[in-house]
């Protein structure tokens, strides 16, 4: 059983870590010891799995890299403008 985003919307939360800004979240469950086994029930013209019990192992993953804040992007822009300005000034001096 697997789910991931984008695709499904997956949210994580915890008392111990702030997961509010994670991206590319995913989860997976692997069942074992399935009793009495997997089979479909076709009564009533339907086709749904028969009842079973199972053990499970689960895993969760995400990209924990913080999304850049608008302030950081603005600083990056200012830095680029400053570099371009310095280059232009140096060329004028040379001319």
């Amino acid at each position: 059983m697997n789910a991931s985003s984008p695709g499904q919307k997956i949210t994580f939360s915890s008392d111990f870590f702030d997961f509010s800004n994670v991206s590319l979240a995913a989860m997976g469950l692997t069942f074992s010891g399935i009793l009495p086994g997997l089979s479909f029930d076709t009564d009533n013209g339907r086709n749904i799995l028969n009842s079973f019990t199972a053990a499970a192992v689960g895993s969760f993953s995400a990209d924990l890299t913080p999304v850049p804040e608008p302030g950081s992007l603005a600083l990056l822009g200012i830095g680029c403008v400053a570099i371009a300005g310095a280059g232009l000034r140096a060329r004028r001096r040379l001319a």
Binding site: V22, M27, I34, F40, L49, A55, A56, S61, T65
Partner: protein, 167 residues
């Protein structure tokens, strides 16, 4: 005092300025590469192979009109581990005794293709993994190791399986 710079000195200054700018651009490029990191495992759990209805997961078919996939009331005992989560206190590092409460379900039909059974789900998946004893750190009641909600969409996850005994 200081002598005026010659044309050669100016060129040298411009070259070193260019070098600094290129170095800065390369540093920015490496930073932006790091920002597009791939997802990493953040947590995992196992219910230690218990497959009975009280300690494992149970799929219950209701007269073939709907089905639920859940754990017993009070949850199933699991061993939970945070992985690759930065800044975790020592108390939360390594295996944690916990209980999982799992809940989802479906009203959709499944199908068999190439010997594999595919059962779609159309209910949200709700997972709560609760520490058996409160930690000395954390927010709220300091029990909630991980809560996960999955909202279904058109490509909702499937229970997919194969059964050697009942192909």
């Amino acid at each position: 005092m200081f002598a005026p710079k010659t044309t050669g000195t100016r060129r040298q200054t411009i070259r070193s300025a260019r070098g600094v700018a290129i170095g800065f651009a390369l540093a920015l490029a490496s930073l932006s590469t790091a920002a597009v990191a791939a997802p990493v495992s953040i947590a995992e759990f196992t219910n230690n192979g218990a497959s009975d209805a009280a300690n494992g997961f149970r799929w219950i078919n209701y007269d073939n009109f709907s089905a639920t996939l859940d754990t017993a009331n009070g949850g199933a005992p699991v061993t939970f581990t945070f992985t690759n989560v930065p800044g975790l206190p020592a108390e939360l590092q390594g295996p944690q005794a916990a209980h999982i409460r799992f809940d989802t379900g479906t009203t959709l039909d499944g199908q068999t293709a190439l010997g594999q059974l595919d059962q779609p789900l159309n209910s949200p998946i709700s997972i709560l993994i609760i520490r058996d004893t409160p930690a000395s750190v954390g927010d709220n009641n300091r029990h909630n190791l991980l809560t996960v909600t999955v909202t279904p969409d058109s490509s909702m996850s499937l229970v997919v399986g194969q059964n050697d005994r009942h192909p």
